[in-house]
């Protein structure tokens, strides 16, 4: 059930927030509570709220539909490479 959600979210983010590293995981075994990490330099100089907004805007339709909740972590490439998680 909902097994395509992870793939769909992954593709959406890779498409809309490029270039980026995207990791999507399932938190609950039901594929509708997702753990997402996005690393991209589009986040540079933006507040956390602005960074999360960029991602949430891409996911809005999914969140109105099959995805119930997401746990989101946004990083610049530099932060990602330093291993900030």
């Amino acid at each position: 059930m909902n097994s395509d959600n992870l793939k769909m979210v992954q593709q959406l983010l890779e498409e809309k927030i490029a270039p980026s590293i995207v990791e999507v995981g399932d938190m609950t075994g039901t594929n509708d509570h997702l753990e997402i990490l996005v690393a991209s330099d589009v986040f540079k100089g933006k507040t956390l709220l602005q960074q999360h907004r960029l991602v949430m805007d891409v996911l809005r339709a999914s969140l109105d539909g099959p995805v119930h909740a997401v746990k989101l972590k946004t990083l610049t490439f530099e932060q990602y490479q330093r291993g900030e998680r």
Binding site: L48, H52, R53, M56, D57, L63, A69, V70
Partner: protein
């Protein structure tokens, strides 16, 4: 009313929006009810979602006065605030009427001290 909703009100909870007013004014009034307002599922005593539980737990620990509003009790506010803030999920934390973020942002700001700084100012 949801017959399965047996949760008891909590002391810092805004019980209901003023339904005699148009929706934008209801939202404005809720945002102005306190400097720190958390829109969540459930309340601080009986959170109805893990994310809401975590955010309200952080606020409780910081010892600042805050009010909560249970969006599960009010579908109109639940949808209207999402559109107002252009933010698709709950909880949503507001300080001085401005959206700070959801649970992930609040947790990260709590860990790095930004939340404490924001709430003291």
């Amino acid at each position: 009313m949801n017959p399965f909703n047996v949760i008891q009100p909590s002391a810092n909870e805004i019980k209901e929006a003023d339904k005699s007013k148009p929706l934008p004014e209801q939202i404005k009034a809720l945002l102005g009810a306190e400097n720190v307002v958390l829109f969540m599922k459930g309340n601080t005593e009986f959170p109805q979602c893990g994310f809401s539980a975590n955010t309200s737990g952080i606020l409780k620990q910081l010892n600042v006065p805050f009010k909560t509003f249970n969006i599960l009790n009010d579908p109109e506010i639940r949808q209207g605030l999402k559109e107002f803030s252009q933010w698709p999920t709950y909880p949503q934390l507001y300080v001085n009427g401005e959206l700070v973020g959801g649970n992930d942002i609040v947790t990260e700001m709590y860990k790095n001290g930004e939340l404490q700084a924001l709430l003291k100012s």
